[in-house]
Amino acid sequence: MSSVGELTADETPLFDPMAPLTATGNLRRRMAVSRVSESGSTVCALAAVAVLLILVIGIAIRGASVLSIGFITQNQSGLTGGGIANYLLGTFVIVVFGAVIAVPIGVLTGLYMTEFAGPRSLTGRTLKLVLDLLQGVPTIVVGLFVYGLIVLAEHKETGFAASVALAIVMLPLVARASQEVLLLVPGSLREAADALGVARWRTVVGVILPNAAGGIVTGVILATARAAGETAPVLLVNSLFDPYSTQLNIFGHGVPTVPMLILNTTDLALPDAFNRAWGAAFVLLVLILFANILARVIVARSRRRMGL
């Protein structure tokens, strides 16, 4: 064994240091392997994008025939005619009411986790566990729960039940988004307010919440977009409605929603109905994608403002 630092007479360096800096030894083969794997990953990514385009463009093309201003502003007339205005309004009303329930509870829960129970405390960890579990509950089970909770009690399916179900779906998302954004508020702000003797609640309301408002709004937009497309809970608790008229009173009445329109259409064998459903699907998709882009823009702008 040659000792440290010595070059024995029969030991040659593994490469010629003076040679040009191109691949030596087995590097050419290894570069080829690396390039193949990179190409493979690229193909996979492009395939995913292709699937997205196939879906979106496919829906757009098939829905294009019914799209018009009237489609969005008129109610349904007859089995296959008219627009989807009542469905759009119904979805809007139900989702907004669901948000009215979910957002305060979610934001306050997030506040609780950041202000009163640290991430390491028992309450903090329990809350995180509960929120994680709620997130993992299948939405059809949420529908069953609300059915037993409200529909059986009221003996009818209502838009209100759908709002409650959607609120349960939105709740973990809003709570988590709030908690993350509230954690980002610099501790120095809190300390400064404390040092000045400002009341805790004033700090929260006047400084912390405004600071976190952007992130919370983003979380709410995304959670709402998700809820707007949820069908399983709505199917179980709000499937009986008048398809021809607008119904804004969610209490005591079934409310028409876009997902239910699309779902019901699959039972009909009428091509005109299919066209309307494609149009509705396209409108719903556009609204959801628009909400996503809006959320991204808000995040990007606030990040720029923070100098990141």
Partner: protein, 325 residues
């Protein structure tokens, strides 16, 4: 300043407001937290309670019998469990490696400009509501599969998995494809977040030893993220197991165990979606609640397992960001 008494009164008044405000804030927050916990608790209780007629009638035999005959009051979900497991595993087997490859591409291979375009596009796949996927599946995918399946059968038919196809394209295969599309962006987003947590100096150290990019991935990035990848797979599997609407539209609602994936089938969630609106006896409803209870248990187990496997990586956080897209 006024008299000392007035001053003390003013201070006392301010302190009272402060205490009231602080207590009110704490009360509201605690109440909200309590509502969250109560919701989960009551949900579990409600499911057990509503399923209890079926539980007392069938016991655990519900899970081991295949007969689903509402007219005769006989309910067993063995075939539904089979359909649930097979369709979800199908999706995971395809979406898993694909998602990892896409995540590697987005985190390690793509240039920042390309990443800024392709990344959001892949994420938007997750934004497509399941009803739209299901609708597209029935009207576009199924007819396409009618053309595709005979070809696949002729090539792969020696494997029982790819048996004789159906004439209408509604099948386990269609459900598997729809589920694949649904969980692919989840796997991809979770793994991408995961790969971005690999410390830069670890990758630098590997690169400085004259390793190619693939060697850095294979030698350092993948081995150090194995537990995170496993957790991501578990969460994505959980999502697939619980999906109701999209599956219900393309799988056929047939209670049977077919080896061939080209045959129709049904899942637990799909059965609830398909038959709950028409359930006309209280036992029928209870049986569907029982099926929902099984789904709830599955959902809770996957969430817990993913948390346990993931270790330091906050997999649930990435999951929340991936699905709220």
């Amino acid at each position: 300043m006024g008299s000392p008494l007035a001053f003390a009164g003013a201070r006392g008044g301010a302190r009272a407001t402060r205490q009231l405000g602080d207590r009110l804030l704490f009360g509201l927050c605690a109440l909200a937290a309590l509502i969250v916990v109560a919701t989960l608790g009551y949900l579990a209780y409600q499911m057990i309670d509503s399923a209890s007629p079926a539980i007392s009638r069938f016991g655990l035999g519900f899970l081991t019998h295949s007969t689903w005959a509402p007219e005769f009051g006989k309910f067993g979900v063995l075939d539904l469990i089979y359909g649930t497991v097979v369709s979800s595993l199908f999706a995971l087997v395809i979406a898993g490696p694909l998602g990892i490859a896409i995540a590697l591409y987005l985190s390690m291979i793509a240039s920042p400009k390309v990443r800024a375009v392709i990344g959001p596009l892949v994420e938007m796949l997750a934004a497509i509501p399941s009803i739209i996927l299901g609708f597209w599946g029935v009207l576009v995918l199924a007819p396409f599969l009618v053309h595709l399946e005979p070809g696949l059968h002729s090539v792969l038919g020696f494997i029982p998995l790819f048996g004789a196809p159906q004439p209408i394209g509604i099948s386990m295969f269609a459900a598997g494809i729809v589920l694949t599309i649904m969980i692919l962006p989840i796997v991809s987003a979770l793994c991408r977040d995961l790969f971005l947590t690999v410390p830069e100096d670890l990758k630098d150290g590997a690169a400085a030893l004259g390793a190619t990019r693939w060697e850095v991935i294979r030698g350092v990035v993948l081995p150090s993220t194995v537990s995170g990848i496993s957790a991501a797979m578990v969460l994505a599997l959980g999502r697939a197991l619980g999906e109701a609407i999209a599956v219900s539209l393309v799988i056929g609602d047939v209670t049977a165990k077919h080896i061939s994936i080209f045959q129709p089938s049904e899942t637990l969630a799909g059965r609830i979606a398909n038959q709950f609106p028409g359930a006309n006896t209280s036992l029928f409803v209870a049986a569907l609640f029982y099926a929902g209870l099984v789904l709830l248990v599955i959902g809770l187990i996957t969430s817990l397992a993913a948390r346990a496997i993931a270790g330091r990586f906050d997999v649930q956080r990435s999951y929340a960001r991936a699905v709220a897209q």
